[in-house]
Amino acid sequence: MTAEPLLQVRGLATWFETPRGIAKVLDGLDLDVGRGEIVGLVGESGSGKSVTAYSVVRLVRPPGSVVAGRVLFEGRDLLSLPEGQMRHVRGKEISMIFQDPRGYLDPVARVGNVLNEIYRTHEQASRKEAKARALELLRAVGLPAPERVYRAYPHELSGGMAQRAMIALALACSPKLLIADEPTTALDVTIQIQIVRLLAELRTQLDLSILLITHNLSVVAEVCDRVAVMYAGEVVENGAAREIFESPRHPYTVGLLRARPRIGTVEEKLADIPGRVPDLLELPAGCRFHPRCFLADDRCRHEAPGLRPLMPDHVSRCHYAERVQEDAA
């Protein structure tokens, strides 16, 4: 069909050892990010979104570890790369930005120094070149006074400015893939939109692919080409963003979309999904979502559904994917 995706995650399993047993936080996750695509990874807290991000760059910390699967980046399996080479992937090929930008910037280091440090880690550059590059980046992420931000400490920046600085850091060495872990969650609503639009602009300018982890569907609607919906460590639905929003094929996605406030509609109260994310140590038998599902029947309680293609680029992990919409009404 088209060219091979930039990132292909296959059967990724990341488990955490807990005193009560093994928590299978990721259990056979499949995910693709194509070149130049922005893929939204959505789901409730605890569904394994961030662990997915850390698993891809191999920074899951004990007691967690990646126990199975492949993470193919441009055809190379990152999980079998020696740590020394993996370090050159981080920052140079795959970068990350995080939820709380001020917490993720060193409080006693000037923004410019950190930028130089990262740049010179991956590129042969003199101090002068690094500084020029740093200023260029700070300008590219839309910071009003690059020279001043260059000399600033993180606490002198507002949340939005800090997130822009963090983005500059992540993009310092022109990575191909940016993993954005809840990049807007800690920001004001007005700033959220700015940051999201900035990411979309940078995508086209820099030929970047982005894996955007969020639980904010408005953010997804704004910029994502494709969406993967996660539930309890699995992808339950994956498809083009427009498709997912217009005709969701998994009851969980339907629930998420309903729980989203809409401007222009007067509703008594927002719909919510009954129940909560299951305990990963005591996963329900059959479909993991069945205790909370409006479609669940005996089959769902006993037989775990696989990811089924419904259309060329739309898969759902539901026995009754075809019926979801009629029954939801």
């Binding site: 760059v57 920074l59 370090r87 050159h88 992937v89 981080r90 920052g91 140079k92 970068s95 990350m96 995080f98 709380d100 917490g103 993720y104 910037l105 060193d106 409080p107 006693v108 280091a109 950190v114 440090e117 990262i118 880690t121 991956h122 839309g142 009003p144 006074a145 001043r148 931000v149 600033a152 400490y153 606490h155 002198e156 920046l157 507002s158 939005g160 400015m161 963090m166 850091l169 992540a170 310092a172 060495c173 700033i191 700015q194």
Partner: protein, 290 residues
């Protein structure tokens, strides 16, 4: 689109914030003044002292304080005032030397243990446990006794007993800081582990080390004077506070109190000065007390 421009112009680095707060902290300030005065007297001793530190005067032994000998003289006719000032040279040298060495070595051990963890951590920290299992004065005494009493050996011994203090402290701090989000971010952007340690972890770990160093400098003086007092450090006739107290010991009963009183006061004042700095510094460097 543009967000508010940068608000503050004051330098908000911890060090500068600390210095500003220092001005409002009389405890630390007084400690600082005491230590500075002692240090200045020691440095400029040849200009201030009326006599030489080992210039005896057989005609003026055991004299009580007077205008010509403000702190009196001892049994050899040494001027106590002169020797008290000169004594600061040796005692401060030992204190700073020992603390400096202990700081460098201890922090290196602590940083390595804390950052690399696992086996490295176990090996280093058990080594430190062995050192701190001895009462510090006894250990220093043993080391000097084994190596022979000399200035370098004395500094080495006192440094040695102080190493585990720094190693523990920095290890604990590094264990906390290495879990910080910004350390994670630096790792996620491909910074090598050693660079992460040097560039991000250590600069965020210094504050308690500063505090501890001032306290340790005080203890180091006590240990140096203590060892010299029992004859295992600086030896007579060199001017050192512990030595001076020792040489005046037998005259206390016969009423010549000044031989021991003035060097004793010098020790007490200097140690107190360091402790006052340490107490206040804790407040000054704690960012939550802004």
């Amino acid at each position: 689109m543009l967000e508010a421009s940068l608000p503050r112009l004051r330098d908000e680095r911890p060090l500068f914030v600390g210095l500003r707060r220092l001005r409002r902290n009389p405890v630390t300030l007084s400690g600082l003044v005491i230590v500075l005065v002692v240090a200045l007297l020691a440095v400029f001793a040849p200009l201030i002292a009326p006599y030489g530190p080992q210039q005896g005067n057989a005609a003026a032994t055991l004299q009580s304080p007077s205008w010509s000998h403000p702190f009196g003289t001892d049994s050899i006719g040494f001027d106590i005032f002169t020797r008290t000032i000169y004594g600061g040279r040796l005692d401060l040298l030992i204190a700073f030397g020992a603390v400096g060495i202990a700081l460098a070595v201890g922090c290196a051990f602590g940083a390595i243990a804390g950052f690399f963890g696992r086996v490295v951590d176990e090996v280093v920290m058990r080594l430190m446990d062995m050192l701190s299992a001895f009462p510090s004065f006894i250990l220093a005494l043993g080391v000097v006794a084994a190596l022979g009493p000399s200035l370098p050996n004395l500094i080495f011994a006192i440094a040695l007993v102080n190493v585990p203090v720094y190693a523990r402290l920095l290890r604990a701090r590094v264990l906390t800081v290495r879990e910080a989000q910004y350390v994670r971010a630096a790792t996620a952007l491909g910074l090598p582990r050693l660079r992460v340690l040097l560039v991000h972890v250590l600069p965020n770990s210094w504050a308690p080390i500063f505090v501890q160093s001032t306290l340790q400098a005080g203890y180091a003086i006590l240990e140096a004077a203590g060892l010299s007092f029992i004859g295992l450090g600086i030896r007579v006739p060199r001017a050192e506070w512990g030595v001076m107290i020792n040489s005046g010991l037998q005259y206390i009963v016969s009423g010549q109190w000044w031989i021991t009183f003035f060097p004793g006061t010098a020790i007490a004042l200097t140690v107190m000065g360091f402790n006052l700095i340490g107490d206040g510094l804790q407040d000054v460097l704690d960012p939550r007390r802004r």
